[in-house]
């Protein structure tokens, strides 16, 4: 999807600000015929606010600051976005045509604080995304696709997307210290 400069997306110091990774995931996301979309870890809600014009969209985040900001941004843009505070898929049910996640991927231990949890992915940077990849299959509708962003350092997650899914790289960008890639995944 293309970034819509007309959207008004507020940011604040308590919520991960849209950065290269957010925009890479947005550009790679192709909702096609999808009628339902789930974004995990929505942050400001930027991606979900683009998706809501295409599909019935649910946006989640574990941070209370992110869910409040995303809901505020939805209201500012008159978007019918459902925002839910949840830890990955716990508390959700149903099947979605597309699911997207820009996970915390830096190899840092979370030291506490909601913002820190937006980028600290634990050992190897992929502890959260590995949980996501383990839990996602039953939430995907027949013919649906998962969009997930990974860093070149997330070695275990990179192995998992290749062995447990049919994966296709649909975006790539070099940052200072690593390379980030977006994969489109379908069940193997």
């Amino acid at each position: 999807m293309k970034l819509d400069p007309e959207l008004s997306v507020e940011e604040n110091d308590q919520v991960y600000r849209p950065a290269e990774d957010s925009y890479l995931l947005l550009r790679a996301l192709d909702l096609g015929e999808a009628t339902s979309f789930l974004e995990i870890g929505t942050g400001t809600g930027l991606i979900a606010l683009h998706a809501v014009r295409w599909a019935q969209t649910v946006a989640t985040d574990i941070s209370p600051f992110a869910t409040a900001l995303a809901r505020g941004n939805a209201q500012k843009n008159d978007a019918a976005l459902d925002v839910v505070r949840a830890d990955l898929f716990h508390g959700l049910r149903g099947a979605f045509d597309a699911i997207a996640f820009n996970p915390p991927y830096l190899p840092l231990r979370p030291r506490g604080g909601w913002l820190d949890r937006a980028w600290s992915g634990g050992q190897g940077g992929d502890e959260v995304v590995l949980r996501f990849l383990r839990d996602v299959p039953p939430f995907l509708a027949e013919g649906g696709a998962i969009y997930v962003l990974l860093s070149s350092r997330n070695r275990e997650a990179l192995r998992t997307v290749r062995t447990d899914f049919r994966s296709q790289e649909v975006g790539r960008e070099s940052l200072f210290f690593d390379e980030i890639r977006v994969y489109r995944l379908r069940p193997a």
């Binding site: 649910v58 809901r71 925002v83 505070r85 716990h90 508390g91 959700l92 049910r93």
Partner: protein, 53 residues
């Protein structure tokens, strides 16, 4: 509602509405099996399990 369930036992939740304006702004989602209420505040259901609160 149809996309939400108890984050602990995955069971059904009973919706209780306290304030509504076109959409539910304040209320609760009760899991009778776990005897726990997940609150809805400012239109946002909080489905974090008790141990993550």
């Amino acid at each position: 509602m149809d996309i939400l369930c108890c984050p602990v036992c995955k069971g059904n939740l009973e919706l209780v509405v306290a304030r509504e304006e076109d959409e539910i702004l304040e209320g609760g989602l009760i899991c009778h099996h776990c005897d726990f209420t997940y609150e809805i505040e400012d239109g946002i259901p909080n489905l974090l399990p008790p141990e993550l609160r």
